[in-house]
């Protein structure tokens, strides 16, 4: 009996040592926020809607892509599929359809009236826009706005293919996001070599 317990102890310690030594190398656990900000904390990020500026460029990184980088959402399949679900649940789909537009402009094309960076899209959802985009400030928690913003980018092929949604269980409206030719997202997330023809 004793020997059995000792053997189990040895195996456990061994496993712990192995995990400590090799764990971080083989697997990095995805960081998930389990208590994201509540609805009331919806605030627009610091951004600008155009790169045109009077005089010299401002020092420091581009506020749209630099600083605290929320682009995590668009590299994460769970966030993108949550964004896809919310895009229907919050009735975005009623105006923008499955990206082709209708009452609202298309989102799957390469025209971005109010900016294509994830922070621009976040701001568009939260602030609303004057020609008919409603303001969702105080209506959707920030975490979910980021997820929707990331999904909106996936509609135009601006997210990594491995993370983009594949075929949904619905009427086939269009080719799935994951099948789009991938465009390198702004901010250089993917080195040019990765997007070049193999």
């Amino acid at each position: 009996m004793r020997a059995g317990i000792f053997a189990a102890f040895v195996i456990l310690v061994g496993a712990a040592v192995l995990l400590l030594v090799f764990g971080p190398i083989t697997y990095v656990r995805e960081a998930r926020e389990f208590r994201p900000d509540p609805v009331a904390a919806t605030a627009p990020p610091e951004i600008r809607m155009t790169d045109l500026q009077p005089g010299l460029p401002l020092p420091g990184p581009n506020p749209n892509t630099g600083g605290e980088n929320p682009s995590w959402y668009e590299r994460n399949a769970v966030a993108l599929s949550e964004g896809q679900r919310l895009f229907s649940a919050m009735n975005c789909v009623g105006c923008h359809s499955h990206g082709g537009g209708g009452m609202g402009p298309p989102l799957m094309d390469d025209k971005w009236i109010y900016g294509s960076d994830i922070k621009n899209i976040y701001a568009t959802i939260v602030e609303g826009r004057p020609n008919g985009m409603p303001s969702f400030r105080g209506k959707i928690p920030p975490e979910q706005v980021w997820q929707i913003a990331a999904y909106v980018r996936s509609m135009a092929g601006l997210t990594p293919k491995q993370a983009s949604p594949s075929r949904p269980d619905h009427l086939q409206a269009k080719a799935p996001e994951a099948s789009y030719p991938e465009q390198p997202p702004a901010g250089g997330l993917i080195p040019p070599s990765a997007t070049a023809p193999q």
Binding site: G94, H98, G100, N131, H170
Partner: protein
């Protein structure tokens, strides 16, 4: 001005004898102080015939028709309006931002004044199907328009000064206004749009002089708010009972149930009744609203002074396929089985031409005028549409090949009736669709639809048709096939010519008897407007049409939609993916005359 009208009247009298015998339809009572050469209401007359007794332009000389003048509206969205002609002036209202132009017909269409109501830009975001406006209305020196952000405005026809402006709805509830006002006995009749946004449909009567609301009738909810009282005697059993506007819905669903009034209103002065349709129930997904969903997708006859309902008939009880019931009601008196009957002709989205007794609301016949498989006819005993179970939407399942598609066999774009040929000229669609119902939640001010839809051209592979229909023989006389849905209105004339336009941009004159195309002209952009014809101060007959593609059908061009998504614009884009190869945006008025 008075002298001008007298001259116009004298000219009318001086017209050839043929014109004298070419009297309008029996019920085509022109509104007060309107000369036959004028066009004061979008539907031309109370009976909604869109027939003009002018006959200078005939089937023999129409081939010589030439452009007289043109005018750019400066707005490149869908131009669905009918130009209005009164006081030697033409009044044209644009899509959002709803600019009202007055063009001087004594000066070849020179700009007299313009009135800008400046509607809230955010209203564009709750307009379901492009930011259209279907025209102004003229009565007693005033011009009336509705704005996209739910205002009805009266403007002085001579000066362009605002007389009154009242707010009737709320864009935060998803409401907009797109219909052309109707004026009856000093009352301006208007209704709301927004059946895709979970609004509660209504029609209101405003005092033409002050804008004061005289009555307001909802099309869902308790009888007291629908204005159903002791006078209400519907023909069919299914429409009798207390508070059906509440009991035919799940609890509270009638509050967001649609039944808007964005189409046409007719008036019979002899019976003193107005007739108006009610649009689809919301949401589109029928499983979220079990019941007959009264009083949506039907037609009301009401007393214009009080709004009290006289009868009701439902085209599509518990509507399954977005068959709004707002089309034009053409009032004619015809002989059926040896008896003169007061009739109401109605080419409807369900795909049938209904011939109804407009005194009682009885359906005398309902005959398909387009490809229909979503229903198997109308039971004339019960009045009920006989559903085809195979085409019944089911949550999460794609039902394929449903005809007609959501815009119906015929949408808002009005037909015309010629009392000379006794034919109804119907511009319409040839569309079918795949439909998947999905669950949707109501969020005020956002779409409340719950369906993935994908439309395509129907049998024959063409998108639209222009049909001359004989309502007595219950069959078509002739049909012209068009590549795209015919989304324009039409006008019939005593000269034996009928005008309509195509979405590619052809403006056509066809022989009212044979359907032969006698003349056609390519305009700047696709045509979805309503042609009108009038007598100008120079005594000549003119034909006017707005060009400028858009509307639900043309949204792919007007709003630059992306055809890679088949469900874009509620599924219409899939059928219209070729349209951008044929036309571009525009917004121009064209006026034609003989040399």
């Amino acid at each position: 001005m008075r002298i001008g009208l007298l001259v116009a009247a004298a000219l009318l009298l001086a017209m050839p004898a043929g014109a004298q015998t070419a009297t309008p339809a029996p019920n085509s009572v022109a509104p007060a102080n309107a000369a036959e050469g004028d066009w004061v209401l979008a539907p031309k007359d109370y009976a909604n015939t869109r027939f003009s007794a002018l006959d200078q332009i005939t089937r023999d000389n129409v081939k010589d028709l030439k452009l007289a003048w043109s005018f750019s509206t400066g707005v490149n969205r869908g131009q669905e309006a009918a130009p209005i002609v009164a006081e030697q002036t033409m009044f044209v209202v644009t899509p959002y931002p709803n600019i009202l132009y007055a063009l001087d017909l004594t000066q070849g269409g020179a700009l007299k004044w313009k009135y800008e109501p400046r509607p809230a830009p955010a209203a564009q975001g709750v307009a379901c199907c492009d930011v259209v406006n279907r025209g102004a209305a003229y009565d007693q020196g005033r011009v009336f328009i509705n704005t996209l952000d739910n205002h009805t405005v009266a403007v002085d026809a001579k000066t362009g000064k605002e007389i009154w402006k009242v707010k009737l709805g709320d864009i935060n509830q998803g409401e907009t206004m797109t219909m052309a006002p109707m004026v009856v006995n000093g009352l301006v009749l208007v209704g709301n749009s927004g059946g895709e946004m979970g609004v509660r449909g209504w029609i209101q009567a405003l005092d033409a002089a002050t804008g004061t609301v005289k009555w307001k009738a909802y099309n869902t909810g308790p009888d007291s708010e629908v204005l159903i009282g002791p006078e209400f005697t519907p023909f069919y059993e299914q429409d009798r009972g207390k508070d059906l506007g509440v009991t035919t819905w799940p609890p509270e669903a009638w509050k967001i149930g649609g039944g808007t009034v964005w189409g046409w209103i007719s008036y019979d002065p002899a019976l003193d009744l107005i007739y108006h349709g009610t649009a689809n129930p919301g949401p589109w997904n029928p499983e979220q609203r079990p019941g007959d969903n009264k009083w949506t997708a039907g037609i009301f006859a009401r007393d214009p002074q009080t709004g009290q309902a006289r009868w009701f008939y439902q085209w599509a009880p518990h509507d399954l396929h977005d068959y709004d019931g707002i089309n034009e009601n053409v009032l004619v008196d015809l002989e059926i089985d040896g008896q003169m009957r007061k009739l109401l002709l109605r080419p409807e989205r369900t795909g049938y031409v209904y011939v109804m007794d407009r005194i009682t609301g009885e359906v005398l016949s309902a005959t398909p005028f387009a490809a229909v498989n979503s229903s198997k006819g109308v039971d004339l005993k019960t009045g009920r549409l006989i559903e085809n179970e195979e085409k019944h939407p089911v949550l999460g399942k794609v039902i394929r090949d449903i005809c007609p598609a959501a815009p119906g066999a015929k949408d808002w774009n009005p037909s015309a009736w010629s009392p000379l040929t006794k034919l109804l000229y119907i511009p319409h669609n040839n569309l079918c669709m795949d439909w998947e119902s999905v669950e949707t939640s109501y969020i005020a001010g956002t779409p409340y639809v719950g369906a993935n839809v994908k439309m395509y051209f129907g049998p024959g592979g063409h998108g639209g048709e222009f049909t001359a229909w004989d309502p007595i023989a219950k069959k078509e006389r002739w049909t012209i096939r068009e590549r795209f849905p015919v989304w324009s209105g039409t006008v019939a004339t005593a000269g034996g010519v009928v005008f309509y336009g195509t979405m590619e941009g052809w403006f056509k004159a066809v022989d009212a008897e044979s359907g032969q195309v006698l003349w056609q002209q390519r305009l700047g952009s696709g045509i979805i407007g309503q042609p009108v014809t009038y007598l100008a101060p120079d005594g000549k007959q003119y034909v006017a049409i707005l060009s400028g593609v858009g509307g639900w059908a043309g949204a792919i061009v007007a709003a630059d939609l992306d055809a890679r998504d088949a469900t874009a614009a509620l599924g219409f884009v899939n059928a219209m993916s070729e349209l951008p190869n044929h036309t571009t945006k525009g917004g121009t008025l064209y006026v034609f005359a003989l040399p």
